[in-house]
Symmetry: C2
Subunit: 334 residues, 2 copies
């Protein structure tokens, strides 16, 4: 049987347990040209919160009664004349929060589990890693010597942003929640500085950590931290808008950045990004990042929880921050 | 004697009559390498409000006791061995709110009053025009067919932004205050649409005027109008942050744009600009704009008030909107 998590009702503010419903349905049969995938791990990402809202965005919302959208990795267990994939192939794609899924292979990518473990392919070598790669390189346009600030720095995207910036010769400061994460940024990932937003006043800490200001700010959080960063931009700074996790569960209007006129004063640019736009270059990015991983320059850490039944409580960790690294849910034994 | 307007105290919120003080001092003598200029017209611009605040910006604030900074145009009436300028030359520059000023010529430009009247050289062919030119072309990066929205559209900068966008083959919608200004945009300047923010709900009006969305938004006002524009961005839109007149007299925090995540959804860019950065290309811009004026494609309208004694009441018109076109104060008979 196939356990599937269905969107049951649209949340207002923070999702609760009644937002989704777990169903058990028969395992489907692949149609002509399709493969059946057994999903082992699914990716839990802040962006999923946005997909629950019935509003125009960069991707259509998940519909009520539909399987919850999620990035996934699994193995082909049946093929019905698929032109490219055969039984045993390991694929990542958009399998959703379910144990089995069908696909014609569009937006799925084969991976080699001899090179990296499965969870890494939905983390550092998956969408979060791609987001970091293209965001900091293509939108942030970092160059050696830049002072780079990243929020959500211990998370799936932020940790890769900071490490790539270090590889490229930047000075990197990360903002994360709690002393343990900050220690991890400095001692494990080689960041030059870390600010614990749960125990420090960010705007004050930035005066110490970014005395000369900020060339590139990679924003995953929005809210007051975005404002604090804007206040310290250098001339011609770039602000990459990747997400705004502090605002996703708002029941009132999003807090806009009061300090946005710093863009004028400093001739700076604030630009939004969505990873899907870079799909044609995913392969190159994965090769580069895989290379850095093998050289020990890029570290990946996944925090893996088990059981599709535990989706809701695991999902909450995205917003409480009670996780260490990329949040992954194991939904089936591999 | 030289009537000079001095910054007397820093305003909180809207400046009042006690912000400045009018002094009468002897006309100064030019030092070696200096010229003495008799100033005829000074430019009144929203940016002047920012120069009154004692905070870090793109230019140092006017100091207490200093002559109020302002763009100006006047005639050289004495030269003390100036290498370039001689008596009778007409120069524009930063003469300030006073009838006579000294300069070594730095940041002053000679103009030909046979080609355009003096007030035009501190309007469409001066800083406001340059701001429009570089803002819409270099930052907005308009191309034919773009849908361009501009706020403060009947003002010194906005009216030129819209006209240049029309010259470049864009569809142009302007936002201005009152039916008379809107009529002017359509009938005199050839805009495709006009929204009267004093009598219409801008976000609703934008649905009619920019059905397909906005490619370039040139923002002079900030606040709710910026938010309304952000909500209608098209993919890869550009938002030019030139000013935020709705926020300059705030006594509380500036209203940040709540809809800034539209930058993410639409992979859009918000970029600030300051005209001084383009000084090396002013000459080219003035030639192009002068050419358009002679062809009747670019119209200039100045609203000229008289008397340095009337600075304060004239200045207020920037914020009440009680003016038609570029606000100019005549401070001396020419």
């Amino acid at each position: 049987m196939n356990k599937q998590l269905i969107l049951e009702k649209r949340p207002i503010g923070m999702p609760d347990a009644a937002t989704w419903k777990l169903l058990t349905n028969p395992i489907p049969e692949p149609g002509d040209g399709q493969v059946l995938i057994e999903n082992y791990y699914i990716s839990l990402d802040p962006a999923m919160r946005g997909w629950l809202n019935d509003s125009k965005s960069y991707i259509p919302p998940v519909q009520l009664g539909e399987v919850m959208r999620a990035g996934s990795i699994g193995k082909v267990i049946k093929s019905n004349n698929h032109p490219k994939y055969k039984v045993g192939d390991v694929l990542t794609g958009w399998g959703g929060v379910q144990q089995y899924s069908l696909t014609n292979g569009e937006n799925y990518y084969p991976v080699d589990t001899n090179l990296a473990p499965m969870p890494t392919y939905i983390g550092t070598l998956g969408m979060p890693g791609m987001t970091a790669y293209f965001g900091i390189l293509e939108v942030g346009k970092i160059k050696a010597g830049d002072i780079v600030l990243v929020s959500g720095a211990a998370g799936a995207v932020g940790s890769v942003v900071g490490q790539i910036a270090k590889i490229k010769g930047c000075r990197v400061v990360g903002i994360a929640g709690g002393p343990e994460k900050c220690k991890y940024l400095i001692e494990e990932l080689g960041f030059d500085g870390a600010i614990d937003y749960k125990n420090e006043e960010v705007s004050k800490a930035l005066k110490t950590h970014c005395q000369k200001g900020i060339d590139v700010y990679f924003d995953n959080v929005g809210g007051e931290i975005l404002d604090a960063a804007l206040a310290r931009l250098r001339m011609h700074a770039r602000v990459v808008i990747c997400g705004a996790i502090s605002q996703y569960n708002n029941t009132t209007a999003i807090k806009g950045p009061s300090n946005y006129l710093s863009l004028l004063v400093n001739r700076a640019t604030m630009q939004g990004m969505v990873v899907m736009d870079y799909a044609k270059d995913y392969r190159t990015a994965a090769q580069n990042m895989g290379g850095w991983m093998m050289q020990g320059k890029l570290k990946s850490r996944e925090d893996i929880y088990e059981g599709i039944e535990n989706f809701y409580e695991t999902f909450q960790r995205l917003f409480t921050g009670e996780k260490n690294g990329k949040l992954v849910l194991k939904v089936k034994e591999d």
